[in-house]
């Protein structure tokens, strides 16, 4: 009997991925640790930021690309740190040129430097422009079901609501909203931000998320490589649990699991 469902792959913008865990590449001690953690996570899609090149001084300094070759991973350039649609679009146009016409991008437009809460108005404006320009947009947003639906209608290829605030590690604070977003969506819904530990990732997958994107939960763990491995298992366990379909919850049950007949006498 086959236990695992065959071909249960994550499909984003026409491409299939075996891993439903997407990871960031920031905040590791060094590139070797970044690589080791990403290997342990099994992730195939990795997010990167677009930043000014260090001019002049360190021509032969190793770069992220040396440790995470483009041939091995799908790069997902992000717009981290952008506070307007204009900045975000400009960043991703540069990313497309940088990565030889690569179209898959992560759009995030922030609204507040303290909470890093997304600015959904700017996000929607940027998404419209990017979709028109042919980008495949995976979009970070709040857990508002109406906004999530609007981003889908604009033509985003995946919608990525927060579980809780970026870098908070607070886990899934509003599973009910996530459930509404998932039920209404025809595109993959991934939780992005707020996951703190492996059980959070499993819960996201049990809710029916297509995947989870995380960075800090792995990079800021005491042992990032071990946490990456835990996250891989949690994503797989949560997915299988979701597909298997949980038993109904009951306050109590009068029918035990063991037979009520054939008891030894006199016991």
């Amino acid at each position: 009997m086959k236990v695992l469902q065959m071909n249960d792959e994550l499909k984003i913008a026409g491409k299939n991925y075996q891993s439903r865990l997407l990871v960031g590449t920031g905040k590791y001690r060094d590139f070797a640790e970044t690589r080791a953690a990403i290997d342990a996570s099994g992730a195939q899609i990795v997010t990167v930021a677009i930043r000014r090149t260090n001019i002049g001084q360190h021509a032969n300094e190793p770069s992220l690309l040396d440790f995470l070759p483009l041939e091995e991973f799908t790069y997902l350039p992000n717009t981290a740190g952008c506070y307007s649609a204009e900045e975000a679009v400009r960043t991703l146009r540069l990313a497309r040129e940088l990565l030889d016409g690569h179209k898959l991008v992560k759009l995030e437009v922030l609204g507040d430097p303290n909470t890093l809460y997304p600015n959904v108005i700017e996000t929607i404006a940027a998404a419209k422009t990017l979709v028109q320009e042919g980008f495949d947009v995976m979009v970070y947003t709040s857990d508002d079901p109406i906004i999530a639906k609007q981003l889908e209608e604009i033509g985003c290829c995946a919608v990525m609501p927060l579980a809780s605030l970026i870098r908070s590690g607070m886990g899934i604070l509003n599973p009910w909203n996530l459930q509404i977003i998932i039920e209404n969506a025809k595109i993959p819904v991934l939780v992005d931000a707020g996951v703190g530990c492996a059980s959070d990732a499993a819960i996201a997958m049990e809710l029916g998320c297509a995947g989870v994107l995380m960075n800090t939960a792995i990079a800021s763990a005491k042992n990032p490589v071990l946490m990456a491995s835990a996250m891989k298992k949690a994503i797989e366990a949560g997915r299988e649990s979701f597909l298997a379909g949980r038993m109904p919850k009951k306050l109590y049950s009068a029918s035990p699991s063991s037979p009520t007949t054939g008891m030894i006498s006199g016991a």
């Binding site: 960031g24 930021a49 001019i55 981290a80 970026i166």
Partner: protein
Amino acid sequence: MQITINGHLKSFECDKMTIAELVTYMNLTGKRIAIECNGEIIARSQYEFTQLSQHDALEIVGAVGGG
């Protein structure tokens, strides 16, 4: 010629330079970068044909670790 590169004003003794020449001069040959000149992205294939002018503002970017 003075050019602003990534927010820093740089002076060059020449008065004519292509982007390709600048890339070589800055030891960025072979590096994966993208360049914007005065807000317009310059395709890599156009570096050798794009002349820089006095007061041009360049952004030279790459991919770095991020979440």
